[in-house]
Amino acid sequence: MKNQTSVFGPRTSGKRRFAQLALVAVLALVFLGAGDTATRFSALGHGMICACGCNQILLECNHVGCSYSDRMRGELQQMLDKGMSDEAITQEFVLKYGNTILAAPTTSGFNLVAWVVPFLVLGTATFFAALLVRRWKSGAEPLPATAAAGAPLDEYRERARRETEL
């Protein structure tokens, strides 16, 4: 297909333009998502547990004489300097130190259950609570709402309140 000319210069085909745009978008995403090394170091280091058994986050381990944390931080920095992606670094650490090195379960396979269940429970509980409240509401005979003072029941209410105060 011949390129047409416009005031802005030669027109490229729609497909090529789309490819260019896609490439630009992908590159932008890659570079924007990468963040600077220090930020990535902090994010990855806070997403891992020190292997010394202290159960602390890697970057927070201050275990005196810890033979792991300094070495692991060094390894992390080296991998970042090599230009490895976050996923590759994480995989490298898991291979070397085991699954428990990650401070939180992954979002794949059975581990996804860990993330889903709390929100599922929250949603279900809220839904049923809403249903319950609606049922209570529909079961109630609307009483005339009384102002805070001056209603005939006030005296009894006040007495009840007095008797139920601690």
């Binding site: 986050i57 428990t100 379960p105 929250l122």
Partner: protein, 671 residues
């Protein structure tokens, strides 16, 4: 002492057993002698307290006299241990802490049994249930975890106390936490007692509520003392790491808080009887579960359970408790029948339902995250770690929803709230919160679009302002009426108002404390940290602070050797003082310890840790700048004060007009 302690515990077990079985007989078989039998059971319960006190005293005395013939003392104390920490030895190990638990339970039982005249039958039932729990713990310390077991060999000196526990707060943190943990046995006993005897009316709710509030207050203090200790001693710059032991203490706190709210529905409207019963049952069972998690080592290593004889005891006891609770619950189903009716969805009742949903879901989430490693290993055969990233991501949204309800709930009337009153109550707080949120963005103090943590922090602060303004407005509205009637100034009127309705305004104070705590939590998003060698003349810049290395010192005491850095601190170029982060090595057990140097202000904490020595012989200093941390501790103090206020009885209102001013709206007409 070992013989005396062992004997005292045996007698205590026998007395608690008598109190339980004979008390139960007296309640089940209504004979002429039942009253007398019940009285002997009550007295046996009181006597068991005396015996457990004797045993606890024996263990403390053995610690003070360095009696290393007792294995427990050998493991947890030594001659050089400062006197104040000799007390800590009582709860620093498994056997001692279980004895401490048994003693606190006996003490609670002692108080309960002394107050029996206020309602003899209810207290008799509660006393029997409490004695049942006592039997379990006394069995533990007599059979499974004996604090007075003798050492296999005679030694000159003991291993000493874990250095992490050699900190002033550790003398009060465990007792507070245990007072909370153990204390929930009392409301549980009253709830089960009320169910068992079909207690007429709701008076047991008031008795239970007071006990629950006291217990909840202790647990709150205990949890935050633990946080403060972690912050001050562990030297990682944080105060909450979501580890299983911390989570174990949070679980009953969450359900206990839910109970304190939902029980008001039963008081005011006679609703949620069954739910409240299960909430208090669950709270007690979570205390037992928490103790099991902490003591059995089942979470830190799943194989520890097999090695721990104590774990099985707790599982059996939990199972029995669950069965007993279920039996009574279904047996007395009709007794708890209520007419749940709402006049409006926009009402205090609804807010309590949703508040309870959130608290219980929060509790489930913490439990889920704590136990997921076990589930993962069982299902997949591989262990996983569930740490702070998981909990922060899942719990923060729930926390924010709770924060919204903290502001909205108290302003809703019972039965019905009109849209007009909602508008009146929320316009000013909402405008104030939004304005502050915008100011934070415009001034560059917060950039919520930068990261999730900054967004959450910004949202937390905005919502906190909303809640705080609603609370202030409530105080101001009431005080203005009182001031108009009595001529007092606004501060006097606020005090007057609070004394007239302690529960309501004490509750507001508690909520205000929670708001401050949440703001403190939000500060975490803005933490800064740096690590650097700090030799003589070396400078470290962190925020508005400049640190300059001045010297390095070493010390040698009978208890430890230490290295400390001496640093000069300037704020915006102006000298503010010296700081001395320190690292210790405790001689008895050759364990290291961190002594953090912390300069705390209302704005932020400058938190310094001596991380070690570099290869060039210079101290390595880790410096953290943690914003708003002191707000947490101030918030906790206000929460405790609010709870104390709420526990005080009301001063009677003088006039009908005052009563009107103080009254919570029962329903608000539409405009």
């Amino acid at each position: 002492m070992a013989f005396f302690g062992t004997f005292a515990l045996l007698i205590a077990l026998a007395l608690a057993g008598y109190s339980f079985f004979v008390g139960l007989l007296a309640l089940v078989f209504h004979r002429r002698q039942s009253g007398a039998l019940s009285e002997t059971a009550r007295r046996a319960g009181i006597a068991s307290f005396v015996c457990v006190t004797g045993a606890a005293f024996a263990l403390v005395y053995a610690t003070f006299t360095n009696d290393f013939s007792i294995e427990y003392i050998r493991q947890h104390s030594n001659k050089a241990l400062p006197l104040i920490y000799k007390f800590s030895a009582l709860w620093s190990g498994q056997e001692g802490s279980l004895l401490f638990w048994a003693w606190l339970l006996a003490a609670y039982g002692f108080v309960l049994r002394l107050r029996h005249k206020s309602d003899p039958k209810l207290f008799a039932y509660a006393s029997v249930i409490l004695a049942g729990v006592q039997v379990f713990f006394l069995l533990l310390v007599n059979v499974a975890a004996r604090p007075f077991g003798l050492a296999a060999r005679v030694v000159e000196d003991g291993n000493g106390l874990n250095p992490l526990l050699q900190y002033p707060e550790m003398v009060i943190h465990p007792p507070m936490l245990y007072l909370g943990y153990v204390g929930f046995t009392v409301p549980f006993a009253f709830a089960l007692a009320a169910l068992a005897m079909k207690y007429p009316g709701e008076r047991w709710i008031h008795i239970t509520r007071i006990w629950t509030m006291v217990t909840w207050c202790f647990l709150t203090i205990g949890i935050f003392l633990g946080s403060h200790w972690a912050y001050s001693v562990l030297g990682w710059g944080g105060y909450w790491g979501w580890d299983p032991v911390e989570n174990a203490s949070l679980l009953p706190w969450l359900t206990g808080t839910a109970f304190l709210h939902s029980v008001m529905m039963q008081e005011k409207r006679g609703m949620l009887k069954k739910w409240n019963m299960w909430l208090i049952f669950t709270t007690f069972m979570l205390c037992i579960l928490g103790t099991w998690l902490t003591r059995s080592g089942v979470i830190s290593s799943v194989h520890a359970f097999a090695q721990s004889s104590i774990g099985l005891w707790f599982i059996v006891f939990l199972f029995l408790t669950f069965v007993v609770c279920n039996l009574f619950f279904f047996w007395r189903w009709d007794f708890m029948k209520t007419e749940n009716k709402l006049e409006s969805i926009v009402s205090r009742e609804s807010s309590f339902v949703f508040n309870n949903v959130l608290f219980v879901v929060a509790c489930f989430t913490v439990l889920w995250g704590t136990l997921f490693p076990l589930l993962s290993e069982w299902v997949q055969g591989t262990k996983v770690t569930v740490g702070p990233p998981f909990f922060n991501r899942v719990m923060i949204p729930v926390g924010l929803l709770l924060l919204v309800l903290t502001g909205v709930g108290p302003l809703l009337a019972w039965r019905k709230t009109s849209l007009g009153s909602l508008r009146r109550n929320f316009t000013v707080p909402t405008v104030a919160a939004i304005a502050l949120g915008l100011v934070m963005i415009v001034t560059g103090w917060a950039r919520p679009w930068i990261s999730t943590s900054e967004f959450y922090a910004w949202t937390t602060i905005v919502l906190s302002v909303l809640v705080a303004v609603t609370i202030f407005a409530e105080f101001y509205r009431g005080a203005r009426v009182i001031a108009g009637k009595t001529g007092e100034n606004i501060v006097g009127a606020i005090l007057h108002l609070t004394r007239r309705n302690t529960r309501r305004y004490g509750g507001y104070l508690v909520h205000f404390g929670v708001v401050l705590i949440m703001i403190g939590f939000a500060g975490t998003a803005f933490n800064q940290e740096k690590e650097q060698e700090m030799g003589f003349g070396d400078r470290l810049e962190l925020g508005r602070y400049t640190l300059v290395g001045k010297s390095f010192t070493q010390d040698d005491t009978p208890n430890h050797v230490s290295d400390a850095a001496i640093l000069e601190v300037s704020e915006n170029g102006k000298f503010v003082g010296m700081m001395y982060p320190e690292k210790r090595l405790y001689k008895a057990n050759n364990e290291p310890g961190t002594i953090v140097a912390n300069r705390s202000t209302i704005r932020d904490d400058l938190y310094l840790v001596f991380a070690g020595m570099s290869e060039t012989g210079k101290p390595i200093i880790k410096a953290y700048l943690n914003p708003l941390v002191s707000w947490i501790w101030v918030g906790v103090i206000i929460v405790v004060l609010g709870t104390i206020v709420a526990l005080f009885p009301n001063m009677q209102a003088a006039t009908a007009q005052e009563r009107v001013a103080l009254r919570e709206p029962v329903a608000v007409e539409g405009d």
